[in-house]
């Protein structure tokens, strides 16, 4: 198994974190993983993204030009990375903030209204967890339980956030499963 995902969005949307949780959960389940942030001079208000590679074998290049999957949390991200997704790949679009799509017919697109769903659960900030849940639901890179475990580890002592995030992850997972996509 080998999956790469680019997770991209605004600076404050928590993309780095969900990438890390995905990597940790997968590692926990015995996979080889690699998480690489976009790092660069502080250009405030810009986009932030990270690449996560999960594989059965040691990860060769941490630099992925054409990822198999993309999680786009805002429009600039979709515009930047959408065209790069491999043919046959998956694009997860946060439809709360993005009202367009890739315009490609060789990739599978799944729309998740992550911000709205998160708001419904209690806080718009958990949109990242919704979309991570959805990603797991579709891709089955690792189990939801592992992700929740590492999320709890991340927010240790902050029960409120944990509860919110768990709900968001679960809701996302549901949505992902419901999408009935096979990649």
């Amino acid at each position: 198994m080998l999956t790469e995902v680019v997770m991209a969005g605004f600076g404050g949307q928590g993309l780095m974190l969900i990438g890390k949780l995905l990597a940790e959960a997968s590692m926990d389940e015995g996979k080889e993983v690699c998480w690489l942030p976009s790092y660069g001079p502080e250009m405030r208000g810009g986009t932030a993204n990270c690449t996560v590679v999960v594989s059965d074998n040691p990860v060769a290049s941490p630099v992925i030009n054409k990822p198999r999957t993309l999680v786009a949390m805002n429009r600039p991200s979709l515009e930047k990375f959408g065209p790069k997704v491999r043919s046959g790949g998956l694009v997860l679009i946060n439809s709360s903030l993005i009202d367009v799509n890739t315009g490609r017919d060789d990739v599978t697109e799944v729309l998740i209204a992550a911000n709205e769903e998160a708001q419904k659960i209690g806080n718009d900030k958990a949109a990242n967890m919704v979309i991570l849940g959805a990603y797991i639901g579709i891709m089955e890179v690792c189990t939801l339980d592992s992700v929740i475990k590492w999320m709890e580890h991340q927010f240790e002592g902050k029960q409120k956030i944990i509860d919110l995030n768990r709900k968001a992850l679960e809701r996302g997972f549901e949505l992902g499963k419901a999408a009935e996509v096979k990649v």
């Binding site: 890390k20 990597a23 790092y39 941490p62």
Partner: protein
């Protein structure tokens, strides 16, 4: 110990602690600031001390002093900061004290940018300061290896009483990968350093200096150093090969991050029946010339791929005299994708 997911920079900090290092003197610079930041948080748990120096000049002279006191000590920086350390590194080599430097290279020259680069290869392997000396240079290509080489670096520094440098790049520093650390070394259990400055109690004073006004004495130092370097060249060369076979279309030379990108390209082309082998020096000095030459002898063509304008080419040429050495590289912080590299390989093989 279980595997943990960690940034390269943090893993470097943790590995130093495992190696028995309890002192870090350093100055912030992107993309390595997570090392001091990690240690500033973590050190109090192990009775370690982080001291923020006023500059890299000061930091390097602090660790020079710390090493003179017989203590395992580390500093990390990135390209411009390393240039500022070059006088002190030369002093450490001349005084023969063990110190570990980490350079998480960024794109230059000058202030340049903060994205990954391998453009300090020449400086590290040949010109790390004035005078006739060399430092051992270790180049990891993943977080696990960064951690392992840090632990090794301390041992080598002590073994040769010589500076050792870890040469990484922004990707090695910023990337998170699973890492498993070696056993914690208790600094108290490390072998005594009888030459260290600990107070001349019940013994003759120890003097640590790099000044030798008598040219005969200074020449003797140069010869002693040379003997150490010959010894390193004899026993410390480290490298990795990948997919080597007897009749390769191409042999690829790459170190650090570029080697991983090269591997992906090699794998892809292998599926198409093209046989490409990879040679990755892990010690950049001493450079594994013989092993590199042997790989060359099995390949029709040679290429060096680097995040620079081609600083390792000369070493490949020296390893394979008379052979043409091709080059592919990107600069300025651009990291080529496996596809770019693959296409370059194809072009070269087909030409």
């Amino acid at each position: 110990m279980a595997r943990v997911l960690m940034k390269g920079n943090e893993a470097i900090g943790e590995a130093a602690i495992r190696a028995g290092c309890r002192f870090f003197f350093g100055y912030p610079i992107t993309p390595q600031s997570e090392v001091p930041e990690y240690l500033a948080k973590r050190f109090p748990e192990v009775d370690g001390h982080f001291i923020q120096a006023e500059s890299e000049v000061a930091a390097s002279n602090m660790i020079y002093g710390a090493a003179c006191s017989g203590t395992r000590v580390l500093t990390t920086s990135s390209s411009p900061g390393i240039s500022l350390m070059s006088e002190a590194i030369s002093y450490c080599a001349g005084t023969e004290v063990p110190v570990v430097f980490v350079n998480i290279v960024r794109a230059g020259p000058g202030l340049g940018g903060i994205l990954p680069s391998q453009g300090d290869y020449w400086q590290a392997t040949r010109g790390m300061g004035h005078g006739d000396f060399r430092i051992l240079v270790l180049a990891p290509n993943c977080v696990q290896e960064a951690a392992d080489l840090i632990m090794l670096a301390f041992d080598l520094a002590d073994k040769y009483t010589n500076p050792v440098m870890i040469l990484g790049d922004g990707i090695i520093g910023q990337m998170m990968e699973p890492v498993e650390f070696g056993e914690m070394v208790d600094p108290e259990t490390l072998p005594e350093k009888p030459w260290a400055l600990t107070g001349a109690k019940g013994r003759e004073p120890n003097i640590l200096t790099s000044l030798f006004l008598d040219p005969n004495v200074l020449e003797a130092l140069n010869q002693r150093l040379l003997a150490k370097y010959r010894q390193m060249e004899a026993v410390e060369k480290r490298w990795e090969t990948y997919n080597i076979s007897d009749n390769m279309d191409l042999a690829v030379y790459a170190w650090g991050t570029m080697s991983r990108i090269g591997k992906t390209a090699i794998d892809e082309l292998k599926e198409r029946g093209i046989e490409i082998g990879l040679f990755r020096p892990i010690t950049l000095y001493p450079y594994p010339y013989e092993a590199a030459g042997e790989v060359a002898s099995k390949a029709k063509k040679l290429i060096s791929i680097e995040l620079s304008t081609g600083q390792m080419i000369d070493d490949v040429r020296l390893a394979a005299p008379g052979r043409e050495v091709n080059f592919f590289g990107r600069q300025g912080g651009i990291v080529p994708t496996p596809e770019d590299v693959r296409d370059e390989f194809l072009k070269l093989i087909e030409s």
